[in-house]
């Protein structure tokens, strides 16, 4: 049952994603992005990954999209800009689509062929996430935090007014 729910949610997420990348208006695209991320969160809950689901709602659909919204407020949304976006998309979708198919076919084919045989599922999750993250993976988390710090510093530097202008 939960498996079916997860599949349904993931399918909805995919549909929302397709809509998100094809909308000509940025606000609409953003709303579809939120929808896709929220359905993914539901999918995570259905798969039993409640922490990931919660974090997905809070950070992805919450914080990250909020940042987007701040930026989107300053974007030109006139009918003219909308028309330009639509025209750009209408004329230039074939080559990207071909490239995506080129990548997706071997990827999906590889999935279909299977690779190493799947081992049997081992039931419910064992061990706690925190113990994994701050035990054996502590170094990876440290590196990731370094990345965040670097991004923070970079964003601050780029956002500074009057620098290099």
């Amino acid at each position: 049952m939960s498996g079916l729910l997860a599949l349904w949610c993931a399918a909805v997420a995919l549909a929302c994603a397709v809509l998100a990348v094809t909308r000509p208006v940025i606000v609409h695209a953003l709303i579809w992005l939120v929808a896709a991320l929220l359905s993914l969160a539901a999918c995570f809950f259905a798969l039993g990954a409640s922490f990931a689901g919660a974090v997905q709602v809070l950070i992805y659909a919450g914080a990250i999209v909020a940042v987007f919204v701040f930026v989107v407020m300053s974007v030109d949304t006139s009918a003219e800009a909308r028309g330009r976006e639509r025209e750009r998309l209408a004329t230039g979708w074939r080559r990207p689509a071909a490239a995506v198919i080129l990548v997706a076919v071997p990827l999906v084919a590889g999935l279909g062929v299977g690779g190493p045989a799947l081992v049997a599922p081992q039931g419910t999750a064992q061990g706690s996430l925190g113990a994994l993250l701050f035990g054996p993976w502590a170094l990876a988390i440290e590196v990731a935090s370094g990345l965040l710090l670097a991004a923070l510093m970079g964003a601050r530097h780029l956002g500074r007014r009057g620098a290099g202008e």
């Binding site: 498996g3 995919l14 896709a36 990954a49 990250i64 990207p96 999750a125 990345l147 956002g159």
Partner: protein, 102 residues
């Protein structure tokens, strides 16, 4: 969850990645490309969570956390770059930024 569900979930995650990728290639406005990048990261995240749920370990969620951090850093830098470009050159079309070539 059985192996068939896992396979379909993995297919869907590949689909999410491919959709985002299509958006990245097809859209010219930087903001749309950033949205597409978010979707590209969401695809593998779904794959990791599905795999983790199937194998019953916490590794999938742990990788999800790492992906999340990556996405946060990417958005922060991407939006900052976008704003800087808007301010300096009033650019919102990614194709017009080619000066780094020289």
């Amino acid at each position: 969850m059985n192996a068939a569900t896992l396979s379909i979930l993995l297919l869907l995650s590949a689909g999410l990645f491919a959709t985002g990728f299509f958006g990245l290639l097809a859209r010219r406005a930087i903001l749309f490309q950033l949205i597409s990048l978010e979707l590209m990261l969401a695809g593998p995240a779904l794959g990791f969570i599905a795999g983790g749920a199937y194998h019953g370990g916490q590794t999938g969620q742990a990788m999800f956390v790492l992906i999340l951090i990556l996405a946060a850093a990417e958005v922060a830098l991407g939006l900052a770059l976008y704003l800087a470009l808007r301010r300096v050159a009033d650019v919102e079309d990614a194709d017009t930024i080619t000066r780094l070539r020289h």
